[in-house]
C-alpha cells in the first residue's frame, strides 16, 4: 500500500508527533517502502494459522493483592517538567 502525504499527516496526528513539513514526502516514501516489504507476507496463506502475540507459551502469573509502596511523590516529581502543589501541570484542557 503506497502511503500518501495525507496519511503521513494523519498518522503523525494520531501519534501526536510533529513532523517537519519538508519531511512529509520523505516519510511517505519510506513508509511505502517498509509496507511494501511487509506485503511480502501476502505470499503465504495464513488463514489457518493462529496469531502469535508472545514468544513463550506461558500464562499470566498473578500478584497477591498487597500494598507495598508508599508515597514517593517527591522523588518522582523532582524529574518532572512542571508541577505545583503535588500536581503535574499541562496547558489548560478544555472539556
Amino acid at each position: 500500500m503506497a502511503v500518501d502525504e495525507d496519511t503521513v499527516r494523519a498518522m503523525a496526528h494520531l501519534a501526536r508527533v510533529q513532523i517537519d513539513p519538508d519531511r512529509v514526502a520523505g516519510y511517505a516514501t519510506e513508509m511505502s517502502n517498509v509496507l511494501a516489504l511487509a506485503e511480502q507476507m501476502e505470499e503465504v496463506d495464513t488463514s489457518d494459522v493462529e496469531p502469535m502475540a508472545h514468544p513463550t507459551h506461558a500464562v499470566q502469573r498473578l500478584r497477591d493483592d498487597v500494598v507495598l509502596e508508599g508515597n514517593e511523590r517527591e522523588q518522582f516529581q523532582e524529574i518532572a517538567p512542571e508541577t505545583n502543589d503535588g500536581y503535574y501541570l499541562v496547558p489548560q484542557v478544555i472539556e
Binding site: 494520531l14 502475540a53 499470566q60 500478584r63 493483592d65 498487597v66 500494598v67 511523590r73 503535588g86 500536581y87
Partner: protein, 478 residues
C-alpha cells in the same frame, strides 16, 4: 408518531481491592495528589505491569452472580490514546477475549412485572487519573492517584426501553456488586459510574436509531433525568426533520440537560492490540468452584426466601434485599427481637430508614445498631411499650448510647395494661365529656377516636391501645 426508546448501559464498577490492578500502590480514596502513584502508575520508562489476583477473582464472582460465561482464556489489550491523566498513552483493557462473557440479570418493574436484561460482557481495565481544571490559572493539574485502580466495565445489551428500566437495571447491578463485595458502590466517590447509550426509533421498527453516549452519570437520579432529557432531545430533532449525530454527551445536572463533549468529538482510532507485557490469563475450573463457594446468597434468592420463609409481601422483601447490609440488619433484628417479620420490616424500612435519610447516613453508619434496635422492637413486641412510645424512644436512642430498656425504666414509659387503672382513666374522661358521650350514644361512633385520644393523653401515651379500645367501647355503650 409513536417513539420507542432503546437504552444500553456501560457501568464502570471500581473493584474493592487494596492495591491497584497492575501495581502495588494503594487504591485508597482521597489522599493528597500523586502520593499513591508509583513508577508503574506513572508510566515511568521500563517498568512493567503485574496483574492483581484479587481483581481477577472479583470479575469471576461477578460472572457467577450474573450467570455469565467465564472467559477461560482472556487477554489484555492496549487502548491507545493521548490524555494527560492517561500516563502510558494507553489504557490496559480487554477487547477480544474479556473475562466475563454473556450473562443476564432480572429487573423488577412496576406491578411486579419482571424483565431480563442481557449483559453483553464485562471486562477488567485500569482507571485513568484525574485532571483538575479549576485549581491553576491557565493550566490543568494531573493527579494520578486513581490511575491503575481496577475497574470492571459491565456492558449491557440495548434491552432497556425507558429511563425507569435503565435505573432499575443500574440499581440491580449496584446491588449485586455490593452483595458480592467486589465494589463499595460509592457513587459520589466515583466507585460506580454509568454511561448511557440512548437512541430512539419509531415503535415497531427493527432498526436501531443513531445513539448518543452520555458519560459519567454518577447518581441514579441523574441517570434517569439525563436519559429523559436525551430522549426528548432526539425526538425533537427527528420530528423537526433533523438527524441525530452519533456523539458523546455530558449531562449537566445544574441545567438538567445533556450537551456535546467537543473535546471527544474527533473520531478516535484506539488501535487496540494485545498487550505484549501481559500474558493470557487462564481461569481454572477449580478457581471458579472455589469462588462459587465464597458467594453469599444473592439478592434474587434472598428475596424469594424472605417471601417464603418470613412470609413478607413481595414489595417488602424486595426493598429489604436490595442491599446486603439491609437484609443482614433485618435478619439480625428479626432473630434477636423475636418480633414478627412484618413488624420488623415496617420498622426497618419506615422508622429506621427515614431517620437515616434525614441524617444522610448509610445503614452501615447507623447510630442504632441491630442489637439496640432489636432491644426496642422486643419491648414493642411484648407490649411493654406502644409503637408510638417506641418512636420517641428511638429518637432518644438515636442521640445517645442508651438501650431501649434503660430509657423505658428511667422515664417510666412502661405501657399501662392494668385494667383497673385504665378503667379509672376512662371513667374520668367520660365524666368530663358528657356532651360527646351523648352524641356518641346518639350514633356518632366516629367519636370513639376522640375518647381514645383523651385517655391516651391522660396516660401520657402509655395506655395499651388494644386494651384501651376494647374497654372504652364497652364503657361507652353504657
Amino acid at each position: 408518531m409513536q417513539w420507542e426508546t432503546v437504552i444500553g448501559l456501560e457501568i464502570h464498577a471500581q473493584l474493592a481491592t487494596d492495591s491497584k490492578i497492575f501495581s502495588s500502590s494503594s487504591t485508597q480514596f482521597g489522599s493528597a495528589p500523586n502520593t499513591q502513584a508509583n513508577a508503574v502508575d506513572l508510566g515511568m520508562p521500563g517498568v512493567l505491569p503485574v496483574l492483581n489476583r484479587e481483581a481477577v477473582n472479583m470479575a469471576v464472582k461477578f460472572a457467577l452472580a450474573t450467570n455469565a460465561r467465564i472467559g477461560k482464556r482472556n487477554v489484555f489489550a492496549r487502548k491507545n490514546y493521548f490524555y494527560p491523566d492517561l500516563p502510558k498513552g494507553y489504557q490496559i483493557s480487554q477487547m477480544a477475549l474479556p473475562i466475563v462473557g454473556e450473562g443476564e440479570v432480572e429487573i423488577e418493574l412496576e406491578d411486579d412485572v419482571k424483565k431480563t436484561v442481557g449483559i453483553t460482557r464485562a471486562h477488567l481495565e485500569e482507571d485513568a487519573g484525574k485532571s483538575v481544571h479549576d485549581l491553576f490559572h491557565g493550566q490543568t493539574g494531573v493527579d494520578l492517584n486513581r490511575a491503575g485502580t481496577p475497574l470492571l466495565e459491565i456492558v449491557s445489551e440495548p434491552d432497556m426501553r425507558s429511563a425507569k428500566e435503565a435505573v432499575a437495571y443500574a440499581r440491580k447491578i449496584h446491588s449485586l456488586v455490593r452483595y458480592i463485595e467486589i465494589c463499595d458502590g460509592n457513587m459520589q466517590e466515583g466507585s460506580f459510574r454509568c454511561d448511557a447509550n440512548v437512541s430512539v426509533r419509531v415503535s415497531g421498527s427493527e432498526k436501531l436509531g443513531t445513539r448518543a453516549e452520555i458519560k459519567n452519570l454518577n447518581s441514579f437520579r441523574f441517570l434517569e433525568r439525563a436519559i429523559n432529557f436525551e430522549v426528548e432531545r432526539q425526538i425533537d430533532i427527528i420530528e423537526g426533520g433533523g438527524e441525530v449525530v452519533q456523539e458523546t454527551r455530558l449531562y449537566d445536572a445544574d441545567r438538567d440537560e445533556t450537551r456535546s463533549m467537543r473535546s471527544k468529538e474527533e473520531a478516535n482510532d484506539y488501535r487496540y492490540f494485545p498487550d505484549p507485557d501481559l500474558l493470557p490469563v487462564e481461569i481454572e475450573d477449580s478457581l471458579i468452584e472455589a469462588l462459587r463457594g465464597q458467594l453469599p446468597e444473592l439478592p434474587d434468592q434472598r428475596c424469594a426466601r424472605f417471601i417464603s420463609e418470613h412470609k413478607l409481601p413481595a414489595y417488602d422483601a424486595g426493598v429489604l434485599t436490595a442491599d446486603k447490609a439491609t437484609a443482614d440488619y433485618f435478619e439480625a433484628v428479626l432473630k434477636q427481637s423475636g418480633a414478627p417479620a412484618k413488624i420488623v420490616s415496617s420498622w426497618v424500612t419506615g422508622e429506621l430508614f427515614s431517620r437515616l435519610n434525614k441524617d444522610g447516613l448509610e445503614l452501615t453508619a447507623s447510630p442504632v445498631d441491630e442489637h439496640r434496635f432489636s432491644g426496642l422492637l422486643a419491648r414493642i413486641h411484648d407490649n411493654t411499650i406502644s409503637g408510638k412510645i417506641g418512636k420517641d424512644i428511638l429518637d432518644k436512642m438515636w442521640a445517645s448510647e442508651d438501650e431501649a430498656d434503660h430509657i423505658i425504666d428511667k422515664e417510666g414509659l412502661r405501657q399501662i395494661s392494668d385494667s383497673s387503672e385504665l378503667e379509672k382513666m376512662i371513667d374520668d374522661v367520660i365524666a368530663a365529656n358528657p356532651s360527646q358521650l351523648a352524641e356518641y350514644r346518639g350514633g356518632k361512633e366516629k367519636l370513639l377516636s376522640y375518647f381514645v385520644g383523651q385517655v391516651m393523653k391522660a396516660s401520657r401515651g402509655k395506655a395499651n391501645p388494644g386494651q384501651l379500645n376494647q374497654l372504652l367501647k364497652d364503657k361507652l355503650k353504657g
